[in-house]
Amino acid sequence: MEEKFARPEIRKPENIVYKRTDLLVDRPLSYCPGCGHGVVHRLLMEVIEEKDIVSKTIGISPVGCSVLAYDFLDVDMQGAAHGRAPALATAITRLWPDRYVFTYQGDGDLAAIGTAETIHACNRGENFTIIFINNGIYGMTGGQMAPTTLPGMRSSTSPYGRDVDIMGHPLKITELVANLPGTYYVTRQSVQTPGAVRKTKKALRKAFDNQDLNKGVSLVEVVSNCNSGWKMTPVQSNIWMEENMFPYYPLGDIKVEGTLVEK
């Protein structure tokens, strides 16, 4: 295998047009094949590498599929209790004001159990970046209903589809925090196509650049697939995401430089 694919004769520095960032630890990811987490991990580390801020970066991993993010991201990291990442990030950014601090959270973590911490950190205008992966389901615990599960969408705790009369409505927390004075940049992106990946990277770069300005929270939501939780192939799940998730969670900037974007 190694010899067949390594092609040592073409592995010369002048031939390299793209390589994995060294800040992404060289070990198999714990995510399902087809999941968007790996792409976002790479983009995040590329931004930190390009900004050359690894010695000033502290990340907070959540509870959920990305609970082990610290195993893949080669920066100092602390694992939060479920939902509390913004509380940890608040203290860290206040105690080390010149550090770049980010939280990496899923929808259950950020928009259910951690709603209070999310809203209050955003409202205080803390100087850190929130990376919010929204796939509308609890992946790690096995496909239960999330705060962002769509109406009618099936999960293991809404097996006949989310009935909003009984189970309530999906929470658009990103729009909610965009309306708070403490957020400076709020955007919703995705990573299912090369174009979308490039836009997400730009958004992440902007979010980290904003930390140089100390003007408040930057939140980058990434609407992602969960092919395992949705019980689809990766390709099917991306199509389903475009057809169902995007109409409910429309992509694009919601707040830029502290001002809501007119739609």
Binding site: M77, L88, R94
Partner: protein, 360 residues
């Protein structure tokens, strides 16, 4: 050369924290401990020493701010009272599991539930036996005066960093609210960034090219790995039991009977000793100052010399379990407690001593 002041217990904690070089306080108001944050906000240490003071949105948030702050290697603390401390238990368990230094102050009020805002000692078991999930302990100091409220802040920070463990000051609403003279030692400057990085190589300070990335987590999905962590913790608690026991003996030399009490109850027992001795009863006081580690050996030895022990607590009988586990002689060990915010009087205590212990 320090300074003598008249202060409330809660204020003494706040002032002592500033003077001990504390880097961050994260709290949420709750009676009867709100003066801690009120004092800090009025003193504005963020302008003088650079200490961060932040009012969180809940006790759940403040303990997780403490957890994040502790991860940076800085000296951090929070304070609350019983219901708020219950909300913090998950975060305290994380601090223990990740072996982070932090100070938590519990100005106890009567419970259970919303209970009362009056003083109580009913959180002994929660503080001493762990409180949150998993096998862990905090080092628990029980001050009996405003002076000790101030002193145990610096003592607590030191122990927290020595053992990389959460430390609790377990006080009560009376000591928090009462005013006494207190000697405050001279301020110690906050540590510099370089000092923190060299003293806390485990902390999240930002990874330089010279080391691997630091990961602070209590998660280990491999049972063998998780057992190893637990063994490390247990070894640490044995060392703490060997080295950190603190206690006080008052008039124990000629005592035939012993009161055992901590915190405010111990103060009341001192008056009870006077009353009892006026009646010709030779009684002394054994006061555990650290509740974990509990002074097991010392109380065992006293138990071999006296005719009976009376445990006085403002609860239904919690520390008495540790006294009974420690004492190996066949003497009566009885409990007297008042609950719900009622403070026992010295007369009551002497009466119970006469009827329940000596009367036997």
């Amino acid at each position: 050369m320090g300074e003598l002041r008249l202060m409330k217990g809660n204020e003494a904690i706040a002032e002592a924290a500033i003077r001990a070089g504390c880097d961050g306080y994260f709290g949420y108001p709750i009676t009867p401990q709100s003066e801690v944050m009120e004092y800090l906000m009025a003193e504005k240490p963020y302008e003088s020493t650079g200490m961060v003071v932040l009012q969180a949105e809940s006790e759940v948030a403040s303990i997780n701010m403490l957890y994040g702050g502790a991860g940076t290697g800085k000296i951090v603390m929070t304070s609350s009272s019983s219901p708020g401390i219950s909300l913090m238990q998950e975060g305290i368990s994380y601090l223990a599991g990740t072996q982070l230094p932090a100070l938590i102050v519990n100005i106890v009020r009567g419970g259970p539930g919303l209970g009362t805002i009056q003083p109580s000692q009913a959180d002994y078991n929660q503080a001493v036996k762990g409180g949150g999930h998993g096998d862990y302990h905090m080092i628990v100091y029980a001050p009996a005066s405003v002076q000790e409220m101030a002193d145990f802040v610096a003592t607590g920070f030191k122990a927290a960093f020595k053992y990389r463990t959460p430390v609790m000051i377990l006080s009560d609403g009376a000591i928090g609210q009462m005013m006494e003279k207190v000697y405050l030692s001279d301020p110690v400057p906050r540590r510099t960034e370089e000092e923190i990085i060299s003293q806390c190589p485990w902390a999240t300070t930002g990874r330089p090219p010279t080391r691997d990335h630091n990961i602070i987590t209590s998660l280990d999905l491999d049972p063998a790995g998780q057992e190893r962590l637990n063994l490390v913790l247990q070894e640490k608690y044995r060392k703490i039991e060997e080295n950190e026991v603190m206690y006080e003996e008052i008039e124990c030399e000629d005592a035939e009977y012993i009161f055992t009490a901590f915190g405010l109850s111990a103060r009341i027992c001192q008056k009870a000793i006077e009353l009892a001795r006026e009646k010709g009863i030779n009684v002394g006081l054994f006061r555990p100052i650290t509740l974990f580690p509990f002074p097991k050996k010392e109380i065992r030895e006293l138990g071999r010399k006296v005719k009976g022990i009376m445990v006085v607590e403002m609860n239904a009988g919690q520390m008495i379990e540790d006294v009974r586990l420690s004492v190996d002689s066949d003497i009566p060990i009885e409990h007297y407690g008042r609950f719900g915010g009622i403070i026992p009087t010295p007369d009551e205590i002497v009466n119970v001593l006469e009827n329940k212990i000596i009367g036997d």
